[in-house]
């Protein structure tokens, strides 16, 4: 497509820089020299995709290898999609505008359930058959990976392979498999890769809802073990991160200081599937920081981890970074804090450069319920953190909660409101004359029973129940000093049905997409009616998946994937939870 024709398209859409080339640190390798060409796709709009670290890591690893090439693509927004369909323009890579069809492999991130319709849409826009079974030798291989891969069944029929786990080592093997001549050889090569699930080699038999079995055919392994990187410190990491032109949130350098989490909160899937906890050394991180600052020019370094304060050298790391870069106006961000005074003192160090937000996640309103979900947060610590925060000059804090948790009663929900009001009173006292500026932001999510957690057998609260509980909080938290936001229970129910779903749910996803569902994680694009229609047409009910209470020995549609934590261990944790034990 000529540049001038492309320019016409760009002049007709919002944020045209989402679709143009030329970002600092984007790489342009010679196609002719690559034995395998990989298109890395994030199934959301450019600004969202650019903040996902995983894709940047794989981009860097592939492009650093002399034999392979990687370029990126993102979901076009509806206005661009309309133009593309009108003029017959296929989805193409950002760097060279090469149609995705002309790559050997398309690697799609599976960030989470509500992005899955975008995956189908991207394949369709690329003129690649949406169902794996319809693809031929002329089509590229389509591989998925990422957080959603731990239960790959809902999207299994759309992928030639789904990689389970951390792909730093495997991505090279995957690219090599894509050099095979013909689909059959390529699929064989893929199946030989440790951590790779090839859905066509498994046959499902289903019970009701998430109950079912995937039986391997032809010598395929009974279980696919997730793959992890043993030595995180030595793992490749891009310091020449691509600097985006268009940003949705403040763009910055991301340093992955730690992977995995040892806290053991029972609702958390990521904590379960990314075990064990591994960290990068202080010297490594400081070196990466220097390189990244020189290579990007960003004014902030974000320290990524599930709980950054659990890094054994977090204090030294934070103060070193502030000392070295603060005078140049380059700040440090700690996205995940614990609710205690230590975290606040860290936040104080950071404040010397740039003011940062303070976010804590109590999740539940009562000590009892926090023990059930194993969220180790004592109220005293929370107030100590608030005290330290107000004394240091913060007037705003943000708190995350979840409703619909297992064993929750209305008392637990009301306790959230009570806690917030006590915090407010405390804050007003602490701030004195400044109390008018006190603001507490409360964000309330809905519990989703995730596979590989002790709560994987627990039903999600009915949608009407969740709505009723949100209303309790809305009534309790009316105040100018409180900013309340909450997740849509309908969207959360869909999330639950998909994360516990199977290939039948996959057909629902396909139907919903055919009816126009996409960008479902964007509230203004999400239409629950459309999804209900898709469920009905496939003779399935969302409740059968989201609200199913499962037995400990039910066969589950994700049993063929192993994520490092066994059923017996999960069951023991579940029983401890329901006995009210936190340990």
């Amino acid at each position: 497509m000529k540049d001038s024709e492309f320019d016409v398209l760009l002049s007709r859409v919002q944020k045209p820089a989402r679709y143009t080339d030329g970002e600092w640190n984007a790489l342009h390798k010679d196609r002719a020299l690559a034995r395998a060409r990989v298109a890395l796709v994030y199934p959301d709009v450019y600004e969202v995709g650019m903040s996902h670290l995983g894709l940047h890591i794989l981009y860097h690893i592939l492009n650093s290898h002399p034999d392979y090439l990687a370029e990126r693509a993102y979901a076009p927004w509806s206005d661009m999609e309309e133009q593309m369909r009108l003029h017959g323009i296929p989805l193409a890579s950002l760097e060279s505008r090469t149609p995705l069809r002309d790559f050997d492999l398309i690697g799609i991130t599976l960030p989470y359930e509500l992005t899955y319709t975008n995956i189908l849409n991207a394949l369709d826009l690329a003129n690649v058959p949406v169902r794996a079974i319809d693809r031929t030798d002329d089509d590229p291989l389509v591989i998925g990976g990422g957080p959603g891969a731990v239960n790959p069944e809902p999207i299994a029929q759309f992928f030639d392979g789904v990689f389970i786990g951390e792909a730093e080592d495997a991505i090279i093997e995957i690219a090599e498999a894509a050099t095979a001549r013909g689909r059959t050889q390529a699929l064989e090569a893929l199946a030989a890769i440790s951590g790779m699930y090839v859905p066509s080699l498994y046959k499902p038999t289903y019970g009701e809802g998430p109950r079912g079995t995937l039986t391997p055919l032809d010598g395929a392994p009974a279980r696919i073990e997730r793959r992890i990187v043993d030595n995180l410190d030595a793992a490749p990491f891009p310091t020449r991160q691509i600097v985006p032109f268009v940003e949705s949130v403040h763009s910055r350098i991301t340093l992955e200081i730690m992977r995995g989490c040892a806290r053991g909160c029972r609702f958390c899937q990521a904590g379960a599937v990314y075990r064990p906890r591994r960290q990068r050394k202080l010297e490594t991180l400081l070196r990466q920081a220097e390189q990244a600052v020189a290579a990007t020019g960003h004014d902030e370094i974000s320290l990524l981890a599930f709980t950054s304060v659990d890094h054994s050298e977090i204090e030294n790391l934070t103060s070193e970074l502030v000392d070295r870069f603060g005078c140049r106006g380059i700040g440090v961000a700690l996205p995940s804090l614990r609710a205690d005074a230590f975290s606040v003192s860290l936040a104080n160090t950071i404040q010397r450069v740039r003011k940062t937000g303070l976010t804590f996640a109590p999740e539940a309103g009562t000590e009892r319920l926090r023990r059930v979900i194993r969220k180790q947060l004592k109220e005293d610590d929370l107030f100590a953190a608030a005290d330290a925060a107000f004394a240091s000059g913060w007037t705003r804090i943000k708190l995350y909660f979840m409703i619909g948790l297992p064993t929750e009663t209305d008392e637990d929900v009301k306790a959230i409101g009570d806690l917030i009001h006590r915090l407010l009173r405390f804050g007003r006292g602490a701030l004195g004359s400044n109390k008018g500026r006190l603001q507490i932001a409360v964000s309330v999510a809905n519990f989703v029973p995730k596979p590989y957690t002790p709560f994987q057998w627990t039903a999600q609260d009915a949608r009407e129940e969740l709505k009723r509980k949100h209303r309790i909080l809305q009534d309790a938290l009316r105040s100018r000093a409180i900013k309340l936001s909450w997740s849509d229970p309908d969207a959360s129910a869909l999330e639950a049905a998909i994360c516990r779903g199977d290939r039948r749910i996959g057909r629902v996803i396909e139907t919903a997409w055919q009816y126009g569902a996409k960008f479902d994680s964007w509230s203004e694009q999400f239409s629950f009616d459309r999804w209900e229609k898709a469920f009905r047409e496939n003779e399935l009910a969302i409740d059968d998946y989201a609200n199913a209470n499962l037995e400990y020995d039910d066969p589950l549609v994700w049993d063929h994937i192993s994520c490092g934590v066994g059923r017996a261990a999960l069951r023991a944790e579940a029983e401890r939870a329901f006995d009210g034990e936190s340990d």
Partner: protein, 227 residues
């Protein structure tokens, strides 16, 4: 490069300045960032080769060295074309007094209407040129005539018309190049319009509004351009 917004352009330049390790002053307050000021923003999609930016340095550096170091860090499509030091008495100013912009407007995919010269003549000899501004809810009517300092047809070819327009810009009001295209009736679904700004100026004395007379009063500060 021409498809990024002014805000994104500002951030791109800030980052290039950091990578080039130019000793720039930081703003005070909660969110310190490099002290930069800009001339009037270019609309998204337009190019310009005489755009203006001022940098406030924390220590003196030879301008040519800044230009060289910065150009090495700029993404394709962005380039410093000229740089100079502001004399001391100008250092407090931003570009608030910039009020004239000169554009080349290339309208492609359209045959030049035979009466194009007449249309231009008519526009320039009107006493008033009334337009609505405000988008969906037309907020106000504006008379653009005082802001149109000159329009002429620079070139016509089989499928392209190039206009040159000298328009007022800035806080005392202005006309937009897109409005000139509309006023001359040159909009068309198939037409592709490209805007290129070739200069921005500050008017020191009152200019006469005779069409065809271009008066250049003063050329301002350090420059950067983009293709």
């Amino acid at each position: 490069m021409r498809w990024i917004s002014h805000l994104d352009l500002k951030r791109t330049l800030e980052r290039a300045i950091r990578r080039a390790e130019i000793p720039i002053q930081l703003t005070q307050g909660h969110n310190p960032h490099p002290k930069l000021s800009f001339g009037p923003p270019l609309p998204v999609g337009a190019t310009g080769d005489a755009e203006l930016m001022a940098m406030h340095l924390a220590e003196p550096v030879d301008p040519e060295e800044i230009k060289e170091r910065l150009n090495r860090q700029l993404p394709p499509g962005l380039e410093i074309v000229e740089i100079w030091s502001l004399p001391p008495h100008r250092r407090k100013e931003t570009f608030g007094d910039i009020d004239i912009a000169e554009y080349y407007i290339a309208i492609g995919g359209l045959a030049a209407p035979p009466d194009l010269d007449e249309r231009v003549r008519k526009l320039l000899s009107s006493e008033e040129v009334i337009v609505q501004r405000g988008g969906e809810r037309p907020e106000r009517t504006v008379d653009l005539r005082p802001f149109i300092l000159g329009v002429e047809v620079a070139k016509t070819e089989a499928k392209e018309v190039i206009l040159r327009a000298r328009l007022c810009t800035g806080s005392h009001g202005g006309a937009r190049p897109q409005e000139i295209v509309q006023l001359l009736g040159l909009t068309d679904d198939d037409a592709v319009v490209r805007y290129h700004r070739s200069g921005v100026y500050a008017e020191v004395e009152v200019a006469s509004k005779k069409p065809g007379m271009w008066r250049r009063w003063s050329r301002s500060r350090s420059g950067r351009g983009r293709s």
